[in-house]
């Protein structure tokens, strides 16, 4: 109770609250600007939080995150241009509803769905993170190493047909972290006699360069569109209809809960974020509807599903971060960066060792959702007006801001050079179709992977242990299947052997480490996996024979 009070006092401190309000506002603004992603907003907030105490810094970043997740719906509903990739599906029904003369209701449904999604995922975060951390206590260095490999392969597999490019990007991210002095023995690596390289790249400058600088360059590439405003909407005279919206949400509570659960689950998976969750939830809402004829024409369920799911994603992404120290998506990876900046290394003991900070994160997550509701209703016009600013003006101001922010990290001009070099690299990678998410995850997790590899080999030099220990085998198996997944997707609906036997093979394979783990629950799960796998195989083998 004392710890909870300490955390509460940390968050309701007037300075922290002020930063949270500014953070939610900045997030809403960033979210409402098409092309300006939430990850970019978070990464640009990072340097600001450097001088703050950890709880205050994280609360500010969580506020930006919550604001950003909700900001996308405003421009999506009012202009038809989604502010962020995580609100793409919101425009499918939000914009038609607004055009049909109900913009206030569309916004109301969007705002309250976001709020509910955020609150549901915050509750699940509080419930699940400590449970997952307890499982994480079983992990040894072999398991952590394989967990990082799994996170990288899953993220790379999301690149779909560009899987190889995704894997190269992830490996390149791991390599970037090896430049400079080795953490374990202090030997210089790949410094080529340069002091700048010997100190290594500051990973936050790398993240801002890779993500923000390269994005700005992409936005500015076309001289004509760079001089245009993002939207030509002159005025916004809309009043959010809260009461009607809440009524609709109550009538569609199953859509709210299902979508929030989809968002939460998608968030837990490394690499999969709001951009996937909102489409998945929309699709599920449409499939589950008895009458789906109004979808795409302004159906309220078409707004509820994407908004509840994209706000729930972050609760999911924060769960593995707080429980295992492995971020669920890019924004959580940046949060991890913020924690590392304050010398706090999240892992299975994080919640136990830093309970006040863990509670502060929970409380900030709840509180930010309430601040978001208040701000979205009050200053809606201002946020939409931001979309009238010309792209080149916005990009220049952001770039100047990023430059000062990066310098402030260590008072070092070298960090700005890092920003510049990695901005160029990120831009080139975008042009050649390399996904940036695996590289960012590689940069963030590179040290953790190397440290655990060294620890594992120090305990026992047998490399086979990476495939013989239950948890590391478990992660190795799902890492391999995640790499095969894009090929499986390509062969879907073709009736190929891979299509028929992919899922039963996954289940059969994971039953082995589950058996090795022992215990009643895991052995039962292993038997269940074998039973389900056999049933699917029997069904599909029958089909193959008939065919």
């Amino acid at each position: 109770m004392d710890i909870f009070l300490e955390a509460l006092l940390n968050i309701i401190d007037p300075v922290t609250l002020t930063y949270m309000v500014i953070g939610v506002g900045a997030g809403l603004m960033a979210g409402s600007i098409p092309g300006f992603t939430i990850a970019m907003a978070i990464v640009l907030t990072l340097p600001f939080t450097f001088s703050m105490p950890p709880a205050q810094g994280l609360a500010t970043m969580i506020s930006v995150l919550v604001g950003g997740l909700s900001g996308g719906l405003m421009s999506g509903i009012l202009t038809g241009i989604p502010g962020t990739p995580s609100s793409v599906a919101t425009t499918f029904d939000g914009f038609p509803m607004a055009r049909a003369g109900e913009p206030g209701l569309a916004l109301g449904i969007g705002v309250w769905s976001s709020f509910c999604g955020g609150i549901i995922s915050a509750i699940l975060l509080v419930l699940f993170a400590p449970q997952l951390a307890m499982v994480g206590l079983e992990f040894q260095p072999w398991d952590f190493f394989m967990l990082v490999m799994f996170a990288l392969t899953v993220t790379a597999s999301l690149a779909g047909e560009h899987l190889v490019k995704g894997l190269i990007a992830g490996a390149a991210g791991l390599f970037i972290r090896t430049v400079g002095e080795d953490d374990a023995v202090g030997v210089g690596r790949f410094d080529f006699g340069s002091d700048y390289l010997l100190t290594g790249f500051d990973f936050i400058a790398v993240l801002i360069g890779l993500f923000a600088f390269s994005q700005l360059l992409s936005d500015l590439r076309n001289p004509v569109t760079a001089r245009n405003a993002l939207s030509d909407r002159k005025q916004v005279k809309v009043k959010i209809e809260h009461r009607r919206a809440i009524g609709i949400l109550f009538r569609n509570w199953t859509v709210v809960i299902r979508s929030a659960l989809i968002g939460m689950f998608t968030g837990i998976l490394p690499g999969a974020g709001g951009s996937i969750a909102n489409i998945l939830a929309y699709d599920q809402a449409k499939k589950a509807a008895k009458d789906d004829s109004k979808f795409g024409k302004g159906d309220p369920r078409g707004i509820i599903a994407p908004e509840a799911s994209n706000n729930a994603v972050e609760g999911g992404a924060l769960t593995p971060l707080m429980a295992l120290g492995i971020p669920g998506d890019i924004t959580a990876a940046i949060m991890l960066g913020a924690l590392l900046m304050h010398d706090i290394v999240p892992g299975p003991t994080f919640i136990k060792d830093e309970p006040a900070l863990a509670y502060s994160i929970y409380i900030a997550f709840f509180l930010a959702s309430f601040i978001m509701i208040g701000m979205q209703s009050g200053v809606l016009r201002v946020f939409v007006l931001v979309t009238r600013i010309k792209t080149y003006i916005l990009a220049t101001v952001i770039l100047t801001f990023a430059t000062i922010g990066v310098f402030a990290l260590h008072n070092s001009i070298e960090d700005i050079w890092t920003l510049f070099f990695f901005g160029i690299l990120g831009f080139i990678m975008r042009q050649f179709g390399f996904p940036l998410a695996p590289m960012i995850l590689g940069v963030v997790l590179g040290n953790i992977a190397e440290l655990n590899l060294a620890r594992a080999l120090a305990i026992d030099s047998d490399p086979m242990l990476f495939f013989l220990r239950p948890w590391s085998l478990f992660f190795a198996i799902i890492a391999i299947f995640s790499m095969v997944f894009p090929i499986y997707q390509k062969h879907r609906d073709t009736g190929s052997l891979l299509e028929r036997f992919f899922s039963p093979l996954v289940l059969l394979s994971i039953s082995l480490p589950l058996f090795m783990m022992g215990g009643l629950l895991r052995t039962t799960l292993a038997f269940a996996a074998i039973a389900v796998s056999s049933f699917i195989m029997w069904q599909r083998f029958g089909k193959t024979k008939k065919g």
């Binding site: 001088s51 090896t178 374990a184 023995v185 790949f190 076309n222 990009a395 770039l399 000062i404």
Partner: protein, 159 residues
């Protein structure tokens, strides 16, 4: 089978992997510690190299999709296509070179003003000046006075 843009990138990556592998032999091997400081980077380089070979093979077998229709006819067309990107790169590099002499405040005002004018044209020069002064000055005040972050002073300007 044809040599395309992806093949070129894959070849560059293979060459880079080879170069980095050679460079990894320059890493000093201490007498202590279980894992050699060169071991982990070498594992990564081997993975990158192997994946690059797969990427090269794929590039030959997969028909090239033209994702970015970059004009390739003349240098002038190329420069015109990328003019804004080249401008940002050049102005930013110049800004970094003069930063120690001009300092963060003057450097940022000049950087944002020049960039705004190059990207947005000379017609709105006054607006660009106001934005440059407001944004850079505002951020400088915020960082130095509110967040108490020391920002570099210029050896020529003194602030």
């Amino acid at each position: 089978m044809s040599f395309n843009r992806d093949s070129l990138v894959a070849l560059c990556l293979i060459l880079a992997s080879g170069g980095l592998m050679l460079a990894s032999f320059e890493i000093r091997e201490p007498d202590y510690g279980v894992l050699s400081p060169a071991a982990w980077p070498r594992i990564i380089i081997i993975i990158i190299g192997g994946l690059s070979v797969i990427y090269l093979i794929q590039s030959f077998s997969t028909p090239q999709k033209d994702i970015s229709p970059v004009p390739k006819k003349t240098l002038k067309e190329f420069v015109l296509y990328w003019q804004n990107v080249i401008a940002v790169f050049s102005i930013f590099a110049l800004y970094l070179l003069v930063l120690p002499y001009l300092g963060m405040l003057v450097g940022n005002i000049l950087f944002s003003f020049v960039l705004l004018t190059v990207l947005g044209g000379w017609n709105a020069i006054l607006m660009h000046l106001v934005i440059a002064l407001g944004a850079s000055g505002g951020m400088w005040l915020l960082f130095t006075h509110v967040l108490e972050v020391f920002l570099p002073r210029g050896s020529l300007t003194g602030f």
